[in-house]
Structures are given as C-alpha cells and as structure tokens.
C-alpha cells in the first residue's frame, strides 16, 4: 500500500539518517547535488514535452480561423472565439457532433461494463476453482492476449455482414466485450487477494457459491475490477479501426471516426476547408477533456491497479 506513502511524500521505512541521494525523498532540504539538479531539470523537460500539445490545443481553441494563421501558435490571439467555436462545432452538419458524443459514451460504457463483468467472473473462476480443462483454457487465453486485435477486425466484419449486423451499434459493442487481458489481471490479483480459507469457511457455513462470489469475493477484487473497467473504457473510447470498418452511417459514428471525417473534409475543400480547423480543434478538445477529468479523478485507482500486472 505504497499509495499512502507516496501521497504523503514519506516512504515506509523512511531514512533515519540523512545521507545524500537517499531514495527516500522526504521534504527535508538537502544540499543540491549535481545529480539532483539533473533530476529536476529532466522532470521539467518531460513536463514541457508531454504538456505542450495540450497547451497548444487549449490556446488554439480560442482562435478564429484567421487568428490560427496570424497569431503566435503557442500564445493567445487578440480575439477570443472560444464560445463561438463551441457554437459552430455543435451546429455543424445539423448538430451531428452531439450525436457522436452520445454514441461514443454508449459504445464505450456498454462495452466496458460488459467486458469487465465477463472478465471478473472468468478471472475469479480461474483463480479459485479447479475445473476440468482449466489449465488448457488458461493457456489458450494467454495465447489470445498475444493475438493482435486488428487481425480479427476484417473477419469479424465479414461475420457481422453475414448476420446483417454491419452498420448497427452491435457491430461495435459486441466485439468490445472481449478482454482476455482483463481475465488475466483478475486471476493474478484474485489468487492472492481472495484467501481460500475465507471461501472454505463460508462454504462450511452453508453459503452458496454464487453468494460467496457476490458477497465475499467481489469486494476483495475491487481494485482489479476498477483497473479492468478503466482500461476497457479507454480502449473502447479510443477505438478507431473497428468502428471505421463496421459503421458507414455517419449518425452512428463515434467521435474518433467523426473527427477523422471532418479532417478529410477540411483537406478536400482546400482553402474553404480551413474554415473547419477551429471545429476540428474544438472537437478534439471536447473529446479529450472528459477522459482527462476521469483520469485525474480516478488517479489513485489506476495507479494501484497497474501495479497488479507489474509487481509479479
């Protein structure tokens, strides 16, 4: 539970005696060594690099088409077209942008919740039950983690096409239910986090298996479940190849495919297309902000969650 330790800046087993360059980064003032200065400089450079595109996006979202060309790219123009850009983005093509936001939420939430439920049940089964074919099934699952999902997109399209499901929401949602890595994570976490004795004593008390799962195991699995949910959500939110292939009706597009379409439009239209740039920029900003907020809000969750796969 290093969370608390890092959050407070104190390390478990903190340094009793101060030595230069201790790994325990307490707040104590230490003489500035060359190494420490290099560390701080390195961190600052990395912050600038990773933040620069966000800064640019935020600044550019306040500019009109003309200002994009005439003002410095990393600083504000004299005009402030932020709200005008929002209005234009939502008004363009009869307000289709709003539909895209809704589609993205629909696809990612249903896929991610479904995938997480399936992965939790499956991972718990692998962790705590000795059923016939368990080893073989798990070996197949591990192999599947390696299979690049793009290999599956084209044949899945053809299957969906034969079922008449192409260009429906199911063509995007159903394939998103599959998350082998999630099963693996829940198993890894569950085999230690849910002690066998607890399950045994519940059985002796006469509890049914399903009740043991919902009442006892699920609360213990919470960190793993949160991690699987968060990453399923990001994966489906960011998905591009699958909806690009499956969906041809632009009223069913998710944000990624929709914005890609606008980008292509802006190119085709030449100089008139440049008028779409503020919409592209604002659309990008609006698509990114909810995820960033979700990430910041669930920080503690994903940081401890990622340790699942890494510590072993």
């Amino acid at each position: 539970m290093t969370d608390l330790a890092t959050a407070t800046g104190v390390r478990a087993g903190g340094a009793p005696h101060r030595v230069r360059s201790t790994p325990s980064g307490g707040r104590a003032r230490r003489p500035m060594s060359i190494g420490r200065i290099a560390l701080i400089l390195g961190l600052i450079v990395s912050i600038v690099y990773f933040f620069l595109p966000f800064w640019w996006l935020g600044v550019a979202s306040t500019k009109s088409t003309g200002d994009l060309y005439t003002s410095p790219s990393l600083w504000f123009a004299d005009g402030f077209a932020f709200f005008e850009n929002i209005a234009r983005t939502f008004a363009y093509q009869n307000g289709i942008f709003f539909t895209w936001i809704w589609n993205t939420i629909l696809y990612s939430v249903t896929s991610a919740v479904g995938a997480t439920v399936l992965a939790t049940m499956g991972g718990y089964a692998f962790a705590k039950y000795r059923f016939r074919g368990r080893k073989v099934s798990f070996a197949i699952l591990l192999g599947a983690v390696m299979i690049p999902n793009t290999v599956l997109v084209l044949p899945t399209y053809m299957i969906m096409s034969n079922l008449g499901l192409v260009n429906t929401i199911w063509a995007v949602i159903l394939p998103g239910l599959l998350n082998p890595l999630g099963v693996y994570l829940v198993r890894i976490y569950g085999q230690d986090a849910v002690p066998d004795e607890v399950l045994e004593s519940a059985r002796i008390d006469g509890a049914k298996e399903f009740r043991i799962f919902t009442q006892i195991a699920l609360p213990m699995l919470r960190p793993a479940i949160a991690t699987v949910l968060l990453f399923s959500l990001v994966n489906t939110w960011n998905n591009f190849f699958l909806p690009l292939v499956m969906i041809s009706d632009n009223r069913l597009y998710p944000l990624t495919v929709g914005l890609n379409n606008w980008r292509a439009l802006a190119t085709i239209d030449g100089s008139a297309g440049q008028d779409l740039y503020p919409l592209l920029i604002m659309g990008s900003l609006l698509a990114v902000v909810p995820l960033i907020i979700a990430f910041l809000a669930m920080q503690r969750q994903w940081q401890s969650g990622l340790a699942l796969g890494a510590v072993k």
Partner: protein, 322 residues
C-alpha cells in the same frame, strides 16, 4: 491439479474438512467436482464471447486465406496461392519493412524514456515529480486519431511551432509530414502517447519493491545512481519485458495514426504504408476479402512469433502459480 496456496496456508483445506463431522471421501470428491463445475458456470459467458469474437473470426480468416472468390461469387479452394502472393507482394513486404524500422526506432526510444522517467520519479518524491507523473500519463487518455490531429497542426509550417523551422531555413525547411520524415514524426506522436503508460507500469513495479533492499544498499554505500542501475533495474526487469511485448504487438499493428495522416498527406502516406492499412485497403477499396484476410493472418503470425521470440530470449517467471 495442485492447490495454489502459499506455504503458510498449507493444510487449511484439510483442517477445514477435518473439522466437519468427517464426511466420507466419496462425498467430498463429488462436492469438489460440483464445485469445479461451478468454475465453468462462471467462466461460460466469457468463454462464449471468446469463441464468438476470437476463435471463430480467427478460424474464418484462416479459411478465407485458403480460398479465393470466383467471378460467380463462390469460394474455391486456393491452397497456398494467397500466401505465395503475400510473400512476393512488394506492397506488403515494403509495409512490413516500414513498420519494422518504425518499431526498431520507436520501441527502444519510448521504453528507455519510460524507464528513465520511472526511475527518476521513484528517486524523488516532490510536488514536481507528482505533477510530471500525471502529465506524462495524460496523453494516454487521448484517442490516437485526436493525437494525430493535434500533432498534425503542431507539425504544420504555418500553424504550429514548426513555423520556427520555416523561419530558420526559409523555403528549405524540412517538411515534417513529407515522405522522408513522416515515419519519424509518427515515432514522436506514438512516443508522446504511450511513454506515460509504460512509465506507470514500471513505476508501479518500483513502488512494489521492498524498502529493506534500499536500506541494505545504503549501508553498503551505494549512491543513487548505483542503486538505480544495479539494484532497481534488474528487479523491475519483468515489468519492462511485459511493456516491451505489448509494444512489439502495437508497433507491428500500426494503423490508426498513419490512416489519419493519409487523408491529409496521401503523397507521404500511401494506402500501403503499413500492412494493416494495406489489408484495409484491399478489403474496402478493392473488395479483395480473401487476400485482405491473408495479409491480416500473416501479420498476426509475424507478431506472435516476434513476441514469443522476445519472451523466449528474456525468459522470466510470468508471476503465475498454479
């Protein structure tokens, strides 16, 4: 089937079984069997989606790759014709060469950066390091399409900071999205997007290391540099291996980023720029689904072989016990 129990748990089940009024051996076995069956009940929903959306499409892709569509629309057995065509197809081989070059550049740059950042964050705990941990991870939340849109503007000689280059070189300014440089520009975009994610995985592993190791190292007089390179690095190697495998899988699959650039710069990013783009194009521009499935399948096999070779070379415990 041995039970997965740590040494201190040994005997818990037998103790539990003994504490009841001594059920017969036979009854206990049937109990265990029915309980085992319940494992299948829990696994069944996932197994169903696994079969429907992984096994079936994979088998179908294989079947498609071994057939070809005649003019009448019927599928005829083609043996290895499609495969022979793929391996002599300069578009496929060129694309594969391109993603390999891209991977050879992108994977080491990104993973070294992620590792260095993770070690830095582990060495100092200040407001600054907490901020950089969050900022470095933020790009992971940006969809690839939008990441490319943003960088596309940043690379633009009129709209982005790249205009500095134009000011410096005049008309001879390097075209960052031209056919010569677009691969390197893609390396930068994906590095920006994924470094933080890999950094967090390695950082989580570092945070999980027992602190006593550091104490011991300090008593032995190891400085920060020695500690990082000789003690922490070997201990988090499994996490780095994991990151590398996923990076290999991702680089060879490259699709979204160049696909978005293709609409703006078709001169620099042709339709066969990567194997996945080529497969997509064969399927949806020419209706060549058998050939597209073959390309996908061959690419998948190449990726799996590559991942396994890497895992074999860096053999380590996977952290699973049975």
């Amino acid at each position: 089937m041995t039970k997965a129990i740590a040494a201190d748990h040994v005997g818990s089940t037998t103790a539990a079984a003994g504490s009841t009024s001594g059920p017969t051996l036979k009854r206990r076995r049937t109990q265990a069997e029915s309980r085992g069956r319940y494992g299948w009940v829990l696994l069944a929903p996932f197994a169903a989606t696994f079969v429907l959306f992984l096994i079936v499409p994979l088998a179908y892709a294989l079947w498609l790759s071994l057939h070809s569509r005649s003019i009448t629309g019927s599928q005829n057995w083609a043996g290895f014709d499609n495969y022979i065509r793929v391996f002599s197809d300069s578009s496929f081989l060129g694309g594969l060469g391109r993603v390999l070059l891209y991977g050879v550049l992108q994977a080491p740059i990104m993973l070294v950066l992620a590792l260095v950042l993770a070690l830095m964050l582990d060495a100092v705990t200040t407001r600054l390091s907490r901020l950089s941990r969050i900022v470095a991870f933020m790009p992971y939340a940006v969809p690839a399409v939008i990441g490319v849109l943003m960088w596309g503007f940043l690379y633009s000689p009129q709209l982005g900071p790249a205009s500095i280059l134009t000011a410096l070189f005049g008309d001879a300014a390097p075209d960052l999205l031209g056919s010569n440089l677009v691969l390197y520009s893609l390396v930068n975009i994906v590095t920006w997007q994924m470094t933080g994610y890999n950094m967090i995985i390695i950082y989580a592993a570092l945070q999980g290391l027992p602190r006593e190791i550091y104490e011991a190292a300090r008593i032995d007089g190891a400085g920060g540099w020695k500690l990082a390179t000789q003690i922490k690095l070997p201990l988090v190697a499994p996490a780095v291996v994991l990151s590398t495998v996923f990076t290999i899988i991702a680089t060879l699959q490259l699709f979204s980023e160049p696909k978005v650039l293709q609409s703006t710069r078709p001169d620099a990013v042709p339709a066969d720029f990567t194997p996945n783009m080529y497969a997509y194009n064969q399927a949806f521009a020419y209706g060549q689904f058998n050939y597209a499935a073959t390309i996908s399948f061959v690419l998948g096999v190449v990726i799996i072989i590559g991942s396994y070779i890497f895992l074999y070379v860096t053999r380590r415990r996977s952290g699973l016990h049975d």
